[in-house]
């Protein structure tokens, strides 16, 4: 793959590597030295003899080996000549961290055009400029210029994350690390002089470590190609997009009614649905959806939800939220009802949402989850566990995980609380059972799972339709042209 050098380079030059600890070039080079990066990293700086005890090279040309990747962190006007050097040395990929391009002024825009012209018809691919580059916890590529004590790096996991904004990307990464959420690859694309979201979708669709792709974009440079790439991804793995900079305002001066109703938000929402993209409307949703879609299997034909709870109120709120979203609660079949009556105390009422009552212990959860999970009327399970009661212990995590693994039904947890709860939240995360602090967020994540499952069904339906040939559909289309 032509983007491999960004993620699996054997040799990297950091251009603008500096001895000043607060300079970007210093932090980036230090990342390579201090991480478990297996390849070779060369600092390039004409003004220094050595950095972190390693010999520096005055220019890319002097580096005594072939280079897969150049990370460029020098002021914008110095970038074009460095690109020339990279081209003459046949460097395969470059990440331009530097700002001061299109986002700054006209002069910066001209610099971008100049670089674009230089790499045209060459093999050199570029990410950036004005970005924080790439973080890959598997190959330990880390071009993030933010020090680790400020931005903790997430562990290896199934979620890929593409962000047009570097600041947004780094904040989310730091937060993900704090929640023990693992990622497969992070790419900050900045001004997208060459590599854009379309290229990356095409690359990540084949990346076996990536189970789910999340994207934050403000501008989509190649709209129709983006939709095509998105449907290719959606066929294979879930794609969640948070699109910034959309507005509901139609063109009020428009000559047609349609034009005045067509806000970019609405067209975008329609386009995403069509391509099988799960659209996130908020930052919360982006990662909430990603965790459920990356960790849990898809529901089969049956998509009705069973709610199992030890708190009545949370069960009611979840039910309300589900019905608000048009989701259906499962009707337990008679056998399930019989089993539950046997296993549950008399004062528990046996219907969905299933309230195990405040004195529920782990054993009660275990038998309830077993009964509910084996019910063919149940497609998805929402487990609400409030850990403030002393009846329940941390092995409820095992009970939930076991029933998920045994019955293979997508399972989402809702639990909220302080330090004790947080320990269990991390255990659940470790077991890849997504948990959320509020019923609304949990149900919303389930909704995203159902949306994606339905989008996949539509994709298959379309394929069948196309295979059967559209001849029949055409015949229907071409009948009476005027009303009688």
């Amino acid at each position: 793959m032509d983007l491999d050098p960004f993620f699996k380079p054997k040799s990297v030059a950091v251009i603008g590597a500096s001895r000043e600890p607060r300079k970007f070039g210093h932090v980036i080079f230090k990342n390579f030295v201090e991480s478990e990066f297996k390849g070779k990293a060369y600092p390039v700086n004409p003004k220094a003899e050595s950095i972190l005890g390693l010999k520096t090279y005055p220019s890319v040309k002097e580096v005594p080996s072939e280079l897969d990747l150049a990370v460029i962190a020098v002021p914008a006007p110095m970038v074009p000549p460095i690109i020339d050097e990279c081209l003459s040395k046949d460097v395969k990929a470059a990440i331009i961290i530097s700002g001061g391009f299109k986002e700054a002024d006209e002069k910066g825009e001209e610099l971008e055009l100049e670089i674009r012209e230089k790499i045209r018809d060459s093999g050199l691919r570029i990410i950036g400029p004005n970005c924080i580059g790439v973080y890959d916890p598997t190959s330990h590529i880390d071009t993030l210029f933010l020090p680790r004590y400020r931005l903790r790096r997430p562990k290896q996991g199934p979620i890929a994350f593409i962000s047009q904004s570097g600041a947004f990307g780094s904040a989310v990464l730091d937060w993900a690390a704090s929640q023990d959420i693992g990622i497969s690859k992070f790419i900050s694309i900045g001004n997208k002089i060459d590599v854009d979201e379309v290229d990356l979708l095409d690359y990540l669709v084949d990346d076996s470590l990536t189970k789910c792709i999340t994207v934050y974009v403000e501008s989509i440079s190649r709209g129709r190609e983006f939709l095509e790439a998105s449907s290719r991804v959606a066929k294979n793995k879930p794609l969640i997009v948070l699109k910034g900079g959309v507005t509901n305002e139609g063109a009020s001066a428009s000559l047609s009614h349609t034009g005045s109703l067509a806000g970019s938000a609405k067209v975008c929402a329609g386009a995403f649905k069509q391509a099988g993209v799960v659209q996130a409307q908020t930052v919360d949703e982006l990662l909430d959806y990603a965790r459920t879609l990356a960790y849990q299997p898809l529901p089969k034909d049956q998509k009705d939800i069973a709610i199992v709870t030890n708190g009545g109120g949370f069960g009611v709120i979840s039910t309300d939220e589900a019905s608000g979203l048009g989701l259906k609660l499962a009707k337990f079949n008679p056998e399930t009802v019989r089993t539950l009556r046997e296993k549950l105390p008399e004062y528990a009422t046996v219907h969905n949402p299933l309230d195990l009552v405040g004195d529920a212990d782990v054993e009660r959860y275990r038998s309830a989850l077993g009964a509910v999970s084996s019910d063919p009327n149940v497609g998805i399970i929402l487990v609400i566990v409030l850990l403030q009661t002393s009846f329940i212990e941390s092995d409820v995590v095992d009970a939930i995980t076991e029933s998920q693994v045994t019955y293979g039904k997508p399972t989402v947890v809702c639990t909220i609380g302080g330090e004790f709860t947080q320990i269990l939240v991390k255990m659940l995360e470790e077991n890849r059972i997504p948990s959320y602090p509020t019923p609304e967020r949990a149900v919303n994540a389930i909704n995203a799972l159902i949306q994606y499952a339905k989008a996949l069904e539509d994709i298959n339906k379309k394929q069948q339709l196309n295979e059967r040939g559209t001849a029949q559909a055409d015949r229907v289309t071409k009948r009476n042209t005027t009303c009688r």
Binding site: S256, H257, T258, G259, L261, A262, K273, L465, T477
Partner: protein
Amino acid sequence: MLEMKECELIIQKALREERSSLLIDEAYRICNLHHIPTPKFQVVIRLHEAVEKVNEIRYPVALKIISPQILHKSDVGGVVLNVGNEKDLRTEYEKLVAEVNRREPSAKITGVLVEKMMVPSTEVIVGGIRDSQFGPAVMFGMGGMFTEVYDDVAFRVAPIDRVDALNLIHGLKGSKVLEGIRGKPPADLDSVINVLTNVSDLMMEHDAITQLDLNPVIVYSDAVCAVDSRIILSETGDI
């Protein structure tokens, strides 16, 4: 294909005459050529001609003013609905022309469209636009209050297939109306889907068309009919 050729000729003629929108009869013709049903219609330039042509269409009819300078016909009194007999046709025709002349003296009236008055039923809106990010797109909305007040419209990017069209319809809050509520029979969804896929084709085939309105499309249990059509060629020219 001959149909496409004729559509292009209509569009080219309008562009040559520096018009940024099509006349109602041209827009209807393009719809018909794309298998989108409209009422039966005739263009006349004299009252006696109208009286004569009604025999083919039959009462009741609607009258619509045709003028390159008038895009919003009803705003200038340029539409008369439910004309039921010859006596009314004679008075309404003269009143229509006089009223438009009074309100828009500078507009050149090139004719009057006489069209079959369709029986009322559920109304929907179908549209086409070119989005700056995603290109040609199709809009669907439920008519009346649903669109005006609740903004209940949705889009898909062209070209759309029948699965997209059905999802587009079902994505609307108001689409329950089409299933037949309050004892009404369910709507002819197949024909609504045809209109959507045909509008999609139309937007894909004619680059010069920047916007299109079929507002409203009347939906019956066994047919649909677009009873107004507006086709915009460019936003820049004068209307």
